[in-house]
């Protein structure tokens, strides 16, 4: 896949937002010198330090900024949960463990404009009273790790990090922690466990990280993209941020589009744009659309009609019983096979389940094995219903949101593309015999 950049400056005569991608097409935009020429770190001044912590949090609440990692939780509200004066430090942890299949926006941010993340971290850190912040980054993203480390070093050298930033009296240290590439470590409590050196498995909640997170201290975990939007909001105010997007989903968002369009890549577009327009922005669809995964592999799939009518905001997708997720858009055309797409997704979730909760540990593998059999033309009548029932059994019965994320593609693909599954069953001449329970005779256990 080629990352297509620059995106057009305008679309349908309207200017596209450049909040997050301001430096993406600037040569050497990742270096401090060039970034500063384009206005980087302009908030690290009276703009930030003359405001109170409360004011900044209030501005972010008013801006309507929501978490860009996938859950879409209101960022300002998350910050307001952090208890004050507990006697413990408050930690800021940046989730750069981008792992949702189809998502590749954060890694581009880290190579193209790491200073915007650092600036956002200083803004957020100041608002929350953070002294130490971590960036938990996927271990195999080596160019991104190098770019971020270089940028942090540059910032330290320029007095933008460390003790007494720019004479403001505020101090912040940033550490980069490399993960080992487990999907589950993108879940915030698993990420914290991994950061602390434990096995990356989600924690029981409550307590929530805002109260007791990293090292049993109040902790805010935010996505890279979320934090990169903060400097703009601090500098220009909530109202300016709200000039894009819809009332309930304000601002802009990065979308990584792959699949059957001509120009796959990362685009910054205002929330509320129609998917149909977005496909055109990305060079247009290849062939006739069959469906679209609107927000990463765990987001329930949309069929062709829904894909062309839906808008890219949290509310529209919630109404369609899907989700905006991490903004990974994957349209696929009629030459693709939904069964093999689901088979690949189910294999991924069976492989990545952390193995802690029974329903997810065993259920994802169980569904995967049935699906492998169906895809191999060995399916029998009843297999589809069984998969559906199993997915419903693990959908809401686990510690974290991995199991629902694993169940939704199964449930939605079966619901939207049932005829394709039935066609696979028909490939087995014995499919009508139904599920073969004869194997339960004692001989099976000899």
């Amino acid at each position: 896949m080629t990352l297509v950049w620059p995106q057009p400056k305008t679309w349908n005569g309207k200017e596209l937002p450049r909040i997050l991608t301001r430096l993406f097409d600037v040569e050497n935009g990742h270096t401090l010198a060039v970034a500063k020429q384009h206005g980087a770190y302009s908030t690290i001044s009276k703009t930030l330090f003359d405001k109170s912590q409360f004011e900044i949090i209030q501005t972010v609440i008013e801006s309507g900024l929501r978490g860009r990692g996938g859950a879409g939780f209101p960022t300002g509200m998350k910050w307001s949960f952090v208890p004050r004066n507990t006697g413990k430090p408050v930690y800021l942890v940046i989730n750069a463990d981008e792992g949702e299949p189809g998502t590749f926006k954060d890694r581009l941010c880290l190579t193209r404009d790491p200073h915007l993340l650092i600036e956002g971290m200083i803004n957020t850190g100041y608002a929350l009273g953070v002294r130490t912040a971590y960036v938990y980054i996927r271990g195999e993203m080596l160019p991104q790790i190098r770019a971020l480390n270089d940028a942090i070093q540059e910032a330290y050298n320029a007095g933008l990090l460390g003790e007494n930033i720019q004479g403001s009296g505020y101090s912040l240290d940033i550490y980069v922690h490399r993960g080992a590439g487990a999907y589950i470590c993108g879940e915030e409590t698993a990420l914290i466990n991994s950061l602390e050196g434990f096995k990356g498995q989600p924690r029981l909640k409550p307590p929530f990280p805002a109260v007791s997170g990293a090292f049993a201290a109040p902790t805010v975990v935010n996505n890279v993209e979320t934090i990169m939007a903060v400097p703009y909001i601090v500098q220009h105010g909530a109202k300016a941020y709200r000039q894009w997007g819809t009332d309930k989903s304000p601002g802009s968002k990065l979308f990584s589009i792959s699949g059957d369009v001509h120009k796959q890549g990362v685009y910054e577009v205002p929330l509320g744009m129609k998917y149909a327009d977005f496909f055109d922005l990305a060079g247009g669809l290849k062939g006739e659309i069959l469906g679209c995964i609107p927000g990463g592999s765990s987001a329930p799939v949309l069929d062709a009609k829904e894909s062309m009518e839906a808008t890219m905001d949290y509310e529209c997708l919630a109404a369609l019983k899907s989700m905006l997720g991490s903004g990974a858009v994957t349209p696929f055309n009629t030459t693709r096979d939904p069964v093999t797409i689901l088979e690949s997704i189910a294999r991924f979730y069976a492989h990545e389940s952390c193995g802690q909760c029974t329903p997810c540990r065993e259920g994802t593998g169980y569904v995967n094995r049935i699906l492998q059999k169906v895809a191999a033309g060995q399916g029998r009548d009843g297999d589809i219903e069984l998969m559906k029932d199993l997915a419903e059994s693990y959908e809401w019965t686990t510690i974290c949101a991995f199991a629902p994320g694993a169940a939704w593609p199964v449930l939605s693909f079966i619901k939207k593309f049932r005829s394709h599954f039935d066609a696979y069953l028909a490939k087995n001449p014995q499919h009508a015999a139904g599920r073969d329970l004869k194997s339960l005779t004692p001989a099976a256990f000899m």
Binding site: L204, T358, R361, E362
Partner: protein
């Protein structure tokens, strides 16, 4: 205790303690059958098995949650499997998932009969299988029973030797993490871990390192399935053939609560194992490996008859010889023992009273006292030391040694003095008549002129007072190497013509000597023991 609060379970109002684990409230006061695999009252909550799911009413309607990770609060409304179809379905689902990768080898599994998975399957499982041959970990069968996980790698295995005490049958493991938490939290020696993830996760130790800990056999008790089994009990007995009596650990002054499990009859008639018995105030749910293995001594080196001047004689003959020797003695030393029950010691004291001035009571032990391990042992091997203090028996074995020449007879009951300190004990051979009551053939019976066999701790009913001052009951297991053997108090009763017929008479005699024991009856002590009134602290010396 705080005032009870009212919660609503399936439409019924139930009185419970505030802030207790909801699962305990459901199992206890609410009397619902709430299954659990990962939850254990003496370990931290892991919340991973998901079988204890209930619905609770919150601000956004009825919500699913696990009852092991919720606390009771006033007005809490709960729906369990009794009123919620959803819970019935989801629990069946969890049970199905647990069994997908669990072998159906109950007929050859040691845990069968006391397996949590079997119990909850019968209660709330899905009783019609939907499994086909495509599911499961694809057991290869054959000698090592390794399985292929979903990544195609060979895992697990049958009969994995984890260490000197434990065998792991990996394919039965349901990854509840109880054993891992036990080693981390209770043993504080993290030696077990769950490696890998998903359905290819498995229990293991550090590479190449065995599992070794003084308490590691407890993981076989808390394992909800037959994955971890103890080498000492593996393939020995079907658990449903065993009968049990409640007793305590006689080898340590904490008196960890345990259960003696035995079988009767010609072939299988023996004590097969000791299991910890939960007592939150004493040993929680744990006993040490050393305590657990005490049962093996019950059938080893027993003194089943009498010995008079080196000749084996029947018990009755030895008893009459002892009676004659002790009655005829001019100056008699009686050694009371902290290894015996309070009743036995009461009988010895009563005997001394009966003999009047010619008899003198000594007590104490030369065994070294260690440190408490913080789990289920105090480190003091003299289990009933507290009772000797309460009964006023002096701690003066050394004085006995110094004054050995004064006596012409000595009665040593249940106290292996020569094993504890042979050099000191050797002075006692100056005493010409040495009567020893012992359950085992040991260094002290070897020095006896008259030795009489008596019942061991597992075979008598009586009490011991632990180091906390808690009176605890030992119950008699009917498996005895010789049915004519009697308890120490019974032998002493015959020697001294005390006229006692039951152990409660002996207990009343003890209570008559110690005001702290008055008013305490066997019934009042109960299975959890009862604290005695604390004596006033001895006045500080030299202040």
């Amino acid at each position: 205790m705080p005032d009870p609060i009212t919660i609503n379970v399936d439409g019924r109002d139930v009185q419970v303690q505030p802030g207790m684990q909801l699962i305990e409230a459901l199992r206890g006061p609410a009397k619902t059958d709430t299954p659990a695999f990962c939850y254990h009252p003496d370990l931290t909550v892991a919340g991973n098995c998901r079988i204890c799911l209930v619905e609770t009413e919150g601000p956004r309607g009825w919500a699913l949650g696990i009852s092991c990770h919720m606390k009771t609060a006033p007005g809490l409304k709960v729906r369990t499997q009794v009123t919620s179809e959803k819970i019935v379905k989801l629990r069946k689902g969890v049970m199905e998932f647990l069994l997908v990768n669990h072998p159906l080898d109950c007929p050859i599994c040691d845990k069968a009969g006391e397996c949590t998975l079997q119990e909850h399957y019968m209660g709330q499982g899905r009783h019609e299988s939907r499994l086909e041959d495509e599911v499961g970990k694809q057991y290869k069968g054959g000698a090592d029973h390794r399985f292929t996980d979903s990544k195609g790698e060979a895992r697990g295995g049958k009969k994995i030797d984890l260490g000197s005490t434990i065998v792991l049958d990996q394919e039965r493991c349901i990854v509840c993490s109880r054993c891992v938490r036990f080693m981390d939290e209770v043993a504080q020696s993290p030696q077990l871990a769950i490696a890998a993830r998903g359905d290819h996760a498995y229990i293991t130790t550090f590479p190449g390192k065995p599992l070794e800990h003084d308490y590691d056999l407890n993981v076989t008790d808390i394992c909800p399935v037959g994955a971890l089994t103890g080498k000492h009990f593996r393939f020995q007995q079907r658990v449903w053939m065993l009968k049990s009596v409640e007793s305590i650990d006689p080898s340590d002054s904490l008196g960890a609560n345990l259960t003696i499990e035995y079988n009767v009859g010609q072939v299988n008639g023996k004590v097969w194992r000791l299991m910890p018995r939960r007592n939150p105030a004493v040993n929680k749910s744990w006993i040490s490996n050393a305590s657990r293995m005490l049962y093996q001594d019950l059938a080893k080196d027993r003194l089943t008859d009498g010995v008079v001047n080196g000749q084996d004689v029947p018990l009755a003959e030895a008893l009459s010889a002892a009676t004659a020797a002790l009655t005829g003695a001019k100056r008699l030393a009686i050694v009371a023992s902290g290894h015996l029950t309070t009743e036995d010691n009461a009988a010895l004291l009563e005997l001394a009273t009966k003999f009047g001035t010619k008899a003198e009571v000594f007590g104490g032990s030369w065994l070294p006292v260690g440190q408490p391990d913080g789990i289920a042992r105090s480190g003091d091997p003299v289990a009933n030391r507290k009772a000797l203090q309460v009964l006023g028996v002096p701690d003066n074995l050394d004085a006995l040694v110094a004054r050995a020449g004064e006596f012409d007879a000595i009665l040593i009951a249940g106290n292996d003095l020569w094993a504890a300190d042979a050099a000191k004990a050797e002075a006692l051979t100056k005493i010409p008549v040495r009567v020893v009551l012992s359950s085992w053939i040991n260094a002290t019976t070897a020095k006896a002129t008259i030795a009489v066999g008596v019942r061991a701790w597992a075979e008598v009913r009586g009490t011991m007072i632990n180091c906390q001052g808690r009176v605890q009951v030992l119950n008699a297991c009917p498996v005895v190497p010789n049915p004519d053997l009697e308890a120490v108090w019974q032998v002493v009763n015959q020697v001294g013509q005390l006229g006692w017929t039951t152990e409660s008479q002996a207990w009343k005699a003890a209570a008559a000597r110690a005001p702290q024991l008055q008013g305490i009856t066997y019934r009042a002590i109960g299975p959890m023991g009862q604290m005695i009134a604390e004596t006033a602290a001895p006045a500080a010396v030299g202040v």
